[in-house]
């Protein structure tokens, strides 16, 4: 039961195969893409820059009139700061439970501790298809992996996998190819076409 990292260029992506489930995890960091090999972290544990904030707080708090609007604003700013630091995305995973369905998870917190998790489960009865498409995100164009759900009313809804990290295409292709096997095995309506291999 070992955690594999199948992609050389994207070591933040790891796969875990066990008897009861399969986990595809993308952590919130990546290698610098200019070839230098340095790690670029998007979720950081406490750094020295954060210590400036309590310093500023302790200096400004007594200087301001007690009970004034400024104190309220300072406390709101402090709460906001703590909240943003404690809800950084640590990793996002797809957990495949054979016979049951697919679970999409987002783990947030202060690295390395996890405080909040958001889990969305898509049972095989509802799961219709798995698609990689491109979308416009502000000024950028990104690939995204999406699970198509069709409820009892017939309305189709989308669930984006890895919605916060939005990993690049090589990771999505790997996940897509592995997941297609599970999807085509469980859902009898999807025709199983041969895999797409890179040309």
């Amino acid at each position: 039961m070992q955690r594999l990292r199948p992609l050389q260029t994207n070591p933040e992506f790891s796969i875990l195969h066990t008897d009861s489930f399969h986990e595809y995890r993308v952590e919130n960091w990546h290698l610098a893409r200019d070839g230098s090999g340095t790690v670029v972290r998007h979720a950081s544990a406490w750094s020295w820059k954060y210590s400036l904030f309590p310093l500023m707080l302790s200096v400004s708090w007594p200087k301001v009139f007690a009970g004034s609007l400024a104190r309220v604003l300072i406390s709101l700013a402090a709460i906001f700061f703590v909240w943003t630091r404690c809800t950084q995305v640590i990793h996002e995973t797809i957990i495949v439970l054979p016979e049951h369905g697919i679970q999409l998870e987002t783990h947030k917190g202060l690295p390395p501790l996890t405080f909040f998790t958001n889990k969305r489960f898509v049972p095989y009865t509802i799961l219709r298809d798995l698609v990689i498409n491109e979308g416009i995100k502000r000024w950028d164009v990104r690939y995204y992996l999406v699970v198509l759900k069709e409820g009892t009313t017939g309305r189709v809804a989308l669930e984006v996998c890895f919605p916060n990290i939005l990993p690049h295409f090589p990771i999505l292709l790997q996940v897509y190819q592995d997941l297609r096997e599970f999807v085509s095995r469980q859902v009898p309506s999807t025709p199983s076409l041969p895999h797409t291999q890179p040309p």
């Binding site: 893409r33 498409n133 950028d140 164009v141 295409f169 041969p194 797409t196």
Partner: protein, 452 residues
């Protein structure tokens, strides 16, 4: 020629229907068949035609979020398109962009920004415009500013070429003594084409009534006023004539009023808007096609009608005299009396049975072909790719020569553009983009589905 990646940029694309849209689609389809990679960049049609979609046969379309102001054209802004264009051109590894239509501000912006990414530019002009009124003077100067540094210009007819060269100032001083004005060598003429299989003539029917078909957007440019003036005269002079008018637009009211006034409800049938798939079925109901446009750079509707076996009556404007041989079309000056004369001539010709629809279709089939248009366009691309890119100083000096006020304005736009580009290179570095490595591969799709 080696396969290259081409980006077609235009405001006018499907799901809107029209000549430019059809042209871009057919040209892209044929270029894909020849082995190139083609993508299309256009603006979105909310709420559901947004994002990135695929069209057969492997054509990726980017629907970008821009607000439209009038009839599908976006506002002419000079910088808001750069971030999207930079991301798309870099991630798709585009070599050349092809902008369409003078009224498309996305196309103009594409030409102004592409040199920053080292991408070559080609512009196709589909329409004729005037010179006299205030709007024309301003838009012609905008066009001249855009075409100052473009790599090649393609026009759809020789008349269109003259018009574009004059409007866009595509001429230079030659080195002779005394110096003359010489047209730039990078202006080409490649006509439109049509899919002749879709416009087969109908079965011959012997009947006394002769039906005149009019199919166009009912707008001022299309000369609906001429139709309104001449239709009652024709109906009065020839009792066996019926009119069939298809299309929609602001001038529909005038047609309805004319019909009421002269009590021609049984002689003039108004069909309303016609889908492009149904055009042929409407055309074969008639034997004469009437086009009263006041300006027409190519006239694809005329060609479709001639292909379907109808005899054409048209005003002698723009590029219309270039598209068909003399014996398939009657010309008229754009005034009532001459239009009446031409229609009378056509009616007598068709009544005497001197026009053979089948033979006409066979002739038109051989004139125009999309594969040929794509091949000629590919040759233009090849010439552009082989030529050298102008460097920044050259562009600045050429832009300054646009005019006393337009020159500095456009140069400032160019320089701010460069600064914005540098900012974007820092804000969104190239190496962090999600590059496209997998494109639609038709051979793999065919082999994958062969087993089914």
């Amino acid at each position: 020629m080696e396969p290259i990646s081409i980006a077609m940029i235009a405001d006018f694309f499907h799901p809107d229907v029209g000549g430019v849209e059809g042209h871009i689609y057919m040209l892209s389809a044929n270029l894909i068949r020849m082995g190139h990679k083609v993508i299309v960049i256009t603006h979105s049609r909310p709420p559901d035609r947004v994002g990135i979609r695929w069209l057969l046969p492997g054509l990726k379309v980017y629907y970008l979020p821009f607000v439209t102001i009038a009839s599908g054209a976006t506002l002419p802004n000079f910088f808001t398109f750069l971030p999207y264009l930079r991301t798309i051109l870099i991630r798709e590894h585009v070599h050349l962009i092809h902008a369409h239509a003078s009224l498309s501000s996305l196309g103009h912006e594409g030409i102004l920004h592409s040199h920053l990414m080292g991408v070559r530019t080609v512009f196709t002009d589909h329409s004729l415009f005037g010179f006299e009124d205030a709007a024309s003077i301003l838009t012609n100067k905008l066009l001249a500013g855009t075409l100052r540094n473009v790599d090649a210009v393609i026009c759809v007819s020789h008349t269109g070429r003259e018009n574009t060269v004059l409007r866009g100032e595509l001429f230079e001083q030659s080195e002779d003594d005394p110096p003359r004005l010489v047209v730039s060598s990078n202006v080409y003429v490649i006509p439109n084409a049509l899919v002749s299989k879709r416009f087969q003539p109908g079965l011959l029917q012997k009947s006394d009534t002769i039906t005149i078909v009019v199919l166009s957007r009912l707008a001022y440019r299309k000369g609906i006023d001429l139709l309104v003036a001449t239709a009652p005269r024709i109906c009065a002079a020839f009792p066996n004539i019926r009119f069939l008018v298809g299309g929609d637009g602001p001038k529909l009211i005038d047609l309805l009023q004319m019909r009421e006034k002269y009590l021609l409800q049984d002689r003039i049938e108004l069909l309303g808007p016609i889908k492009h798939n149904d055009v042929r079925s409407v055309l074969i109901r008639g034997s004469i096609f009437m086009n009263t446009s006041l300006t027409e750079s190519f006239g694809i509707a005329i060609l479709e009608a001639a292909c379907a076996g109808l005899y054409v009556v048209s005003t002698r404007v723009g590029g219309v005299p270039e598209i068909l041989p003399e014996d398939m079309i009657s010309f008229a000056d754009p005034n009532e009396d001459d239009v009446f004369r031409a229609v009378s001539e056509a009616i007598s010709l068709v009544s005497a049975g001197k026009h053979d629809p089948i033979k006409a279709h066979e002739r038109v089939k051989r004139f125009y072909d999309w594969a040929q248009v794509a091949e000629r366009t590919e040759r233009v691309y090849h010439t552009v790719m082989k030529s050298e890119q102008r460097d920044l100083w050259d562009r600045i000096t050429r832009t300054m020569r646009l005019g006393r006020y337009a020159g500095p304005i456009y140069t400032i736009i160019l320089l701010v553009d460069c600064l914005f580009f540098l900012f974007l290179e820092w804000w969104m570095p190239r190496e962090d983009m999600d590059f496209v490595t997998h494109h639609w591969n038709h051979r793999r799709f065919a082999s994958a589905t062969r087993g089914l």
